[in-house]
Amino acid sequence: MSLLTSLWAVPALGAAACALSGRAARWTALVFSLAALGLSMAALRPILVSHGAGLLVEGGASGLFGISYSLSADGLSLALVALTAFLNLICAFASWELEVPAGYWAAFQALAAAVNGVFLARDLFLFYVFWEASLIPMFFIIGLWGSDNRRKAALKFFLFTFTGSIFMLLALLAVVIAHQRATGVWTWSLPELTGTDLGAGAPWILLALMAGFGVKVPMVPLHTWLPDAHTEAPAAGSVMLAGVMLKMGVYGIIRVALPLVPGAAAAWMPILALLAGVNAVYGALCAMAQTDLKRLIAYSSIAHLGFCLIGVFSGTAQGLAGAALLMINHGVTTGALFLLVGFLYERAHRRGLSDFGALATRAPRMAFFFGFSILASIGLPGLNGFVGEFMCLSGAAQSPILFGGLPFYALIGAIGVTLAAAYALPAFQSVFWAAEGPNSVSPKVFDLGGRESAILWTLCALMLWIGLAPQPWLATLAPSLQGLVR
């Protein structure tokens, strides 16, 4: 079983093992998470050595209907796989003391397997199968272990993403058929399909692909599933949902949508960039209006990924590299925030901004970590949030797409950055600094334990490291995005 296959097969086996191991499921989950992280590091090493230029390919014998089991990995995909493994490990630790059935651990392992599959798939059929398969574990995670109206959120999450991706499937089919009509060969392998002449249908295919990926990113008009899904998911579920599943959308755009329909993409790029800008500002404005802490962080994710998309659609080298790095950063920062809200919810079973007060005196460690993560999230330079956003905006400033001669998207992005502080700090203040309100449940909140602090220290250290020295990370990510630079 070669390396790339093991990257998704090991978590899949882990899922089965956890399901069968009953009481000791959490230990099995831990073992398999560690194994997955080790494997992803091993896979990443050749890429690191060759400064991100390498491309590992595996399998490829064509099966039925032109479908072939073939995987490929480069800097970006392996970085995301490593992020998945890392966050999975963090989630394993974070939910160590929860009394949950074995299915809980199995679902997380299955989710990791499916998501890794998406990042490694070279064959579009395999890409789509893993893409949809990742919905099932998350559906159960939200549905079974979420908070009060989890049922509606789980169903809405599944239906929303399924609707987007079924139109994506039709688009993929159209491309495969067009390719066969041109070359007479049935194939689903991505490298061979890129560059097929799609004729008049190209804009429609781009629209359908963007619908599929846009739901996942989420791009604004298709985003209303995200706040519900995040608010209702358990802490670890939100971490995986925000940290990794949103990146599948951006990865899909970078790897599948833009290369498959380059002509239409170039023509529609200004509109897409405008949508990305709207994403950033709209997400921030909505976040300012929230009263539920987790819902606020969910909307902040929309804003962050708006920057990521600005970087992707800028078409410049640093924009794309910034977008890739922002995906990693967002995983770490928002992961930390969701963990903290999760710990808060475990203690007080409440998430409202007005439900708490003066927690800084009761739980100073929690205050420190939350403050640290909030600052990283709003893009304080020196921490990881800033690096990604700065490169994306710099990409937008230098991008050939101009809106009336002005780097309009850089302007929108900068407004987004400014608004970030306007929603994050009031939230921090009302939970940790403001005096206890009449219905405050602060007395029930006790400070973080050793385990929880250890997790958050690793995340904070990572934030600081990427913030001060992002170059090694950029070196691995940038080369794999060369193709899209215009």
Binding site: G63, L64, F65, I67, Y69, F125, Y128, V129, F130, W131, E132, A133, L135, I136, F139, F140, G143, L144, R150, R151, A154, L155, F158, L159, F162, T163, I166, F167, L169, L170, L173, A174, V176, I177
Partner: protein, 450 residues
């Protein structure tokens, strides 16, 4: 004569089975074990005999080709679950084998008359089977059987009159009649109406929900899989024998409409069996879309392979679903609440089947839907494919709704605990169907040739 015997070996085996079952009737106190053994052995023997058959064209009635053989494979396999769970009543076994034999004849039919005989041969025992099989709800089953009978009889009459018109114009009862005039096209339309009735396309579908709801679950499973496969083959043969541009235009839109109609109605059903009936209607719509695409592509073998794969996958999924109803005796969606907490195994199997029916990737259901979408896009049917995609989204509403009821709801307070051993046969079959449905999903990678 010998050529006929070899070409129709599986049908001959089934005929022997029927006579055997009738013979059992003569015995004084036939123990159910014999009838049950016969019910299982006959289809298995037919499947074995299938390997012997060499494709042959024996004018005027018989034309056995690869398509016919593959269809027989799916039909006999689809019949096995009902055979295994049969109640051991010799009359029921005879009727069941008779219906299966009718389908076999239809697969081997060369011309329209034999097609009609096959149609009636499989329908009549089916009406009786619906009326007779099953433990409770006798009056509801009778009502369903009568409705099924009258709808079937009218369809048969329509087919006959269509045949008469077609014959009046072309003077041929078989294929090779070339371009059709007004009379011929009218005849073909009427014959198509009969075929669409049997599949359950929208305007002619009224009998389907009542029959599937009232009949015993195993019989409904048999009807929704093998009978549907035979009906699809009936339509395919009809299009082959009397090709008419009308099919390529009408069938796709009719299929998409049926899919949407079935999905919309299933969404609000409270009764589980009626929900499964409407979902079967929705899948029938997709099949009709598939046949429309095949007709539009001028009989392309790939398109036919897609339809056959869909039928094979659907045989597993639908039988599995109805067997779950048989095994657990669940009547409405509320009984299903919190089922996972009460019996994990069957709940997991049923969830896998529901995911398959919904077309979620790792399962066979997805592969089937993908192939049909693929062929219809290949045939340029963009909008019907989009409508069918919309239908499968709506269908997820209730498939996932059922999974939600099973897993995320809390079981009603006064529910009795379930003893896992009851109806063991059905439970094992449900698990088998679930595993089959998932494995079929990986078919392209494991190179399973449909």
């Amino acid at each position: 004569m010998t050529g006929l015997a070899i070409a129709l070996a599986p049908q001959a085996v089934l005929a022997a089975g029927v006579f055997g079952a009738l013979g059992l009737g003569l015995m004084a106190r036939p123990s159910p074990m014999w009838a049950r053994a016969l019910a299982v052995l006959a289809p298995l023997a037919a499947l074995a005999a299938l390997r012997l058959v060499v494709p042959a064209y024996l004018p005027p009635l018989v034309d056995v080709d690869f398509k016919g053989l593959a269809w027989q494979l799916v039909i006999y396999a689809g019949a096995l679950p009902l055979a295994i769970c049969s109640s051991g009543d010799d009359v029921e076994t005879a009727l069941f084998l008779g219906a299966t034999l009718g389908m076999g004849l239809l697969c081997a039919a060369g011309n329209l008359v034999m097609l009609f005989v096959g149609l009636e041969f499989m329908s009549l025992p089916a009406y009786l089977l619906v009326a007779r099989a099953g433990a409770q709800g006798r009056s509801r089953r009778l009502e369903a059987a009568v409705k099924y009978f009258f709808a079937g009889a009218m369809a048969g009459a329509l087919f006959l009159f269509g045949l008469a018109l077609y014959y009046g114009e072309t003077g041929r009862l078989g294929p090779g009649a070339g371009a059709l005039g007004g009379l011929g096209r009218a005849g073909v339309s009427l014959m198509a109406a009969a075929a669409l009735f049997k599949i359950g396309a929208v305007p002619l579908h009224w009998w389907l929900p009542d029959v599937y709801e009232a009949a015993s679950p195993e019989v409904s499973g048999f009807l929704s899989t093998s009978m549907k496969a035979a009906a699809v083959l009936f339509l395919v043969r009809l299009v082959q024998i009397a090709p008419d541009p009308m099919f390529a235009v009408v069938l796709p839109w009719l299929g998409a409409a049926t899919a949407l109609y079935g999905a919309a109605l299933a969404l609000r059903q409270k009764g589980l069996r009626r929900l499964l009936a409407y979902s079967s209607l929705s899948h029938a719509g997709l099949l009709v879309l598939g046949v429309g695409a095949w007709a539009r592509l001028g009989g392309d073998p790939d398109a036919l392979r897609a339809i056959l794969f869909y039928l094979a996958a659907y045989a597993l999924m639908s039988n599995g679903a109805f067997l779950f109803v048989a095994a657990t005796g669940v009547q409405t969606r509320d009984d299903l609440k919190g089922w996972a907490a009460r019996s994990g195994g069957t709940a997991a199997a049923f969830a896998a089947l529901l995911f398959a029916l919904g077309g979620i990737p790792p399962t066979g259901g997805f592969m089937a839907k993908l192939l049909v979408f693929w062929q219809s896009l290949r045939a340029g049917l963009v909008w019907p494919a989009a409508l069918a995609a919309l239908a499968s989204i709506v269908s997820l509403g209730y498939y996932l709704g059922l999974v939600r009821d099973m897993y995320f709801e809390v079981p009603a307070a006064n529910c009795a605990p379930i003893d896992a051993s009851a109806r063991a046969r059905e439970r094992i079959l449900v698990l088998a169907c679930a595993v089959g449905a998932v494995v079929l999903g990986l078919a392209p990678l494991l190179r399973i040739r449909p």
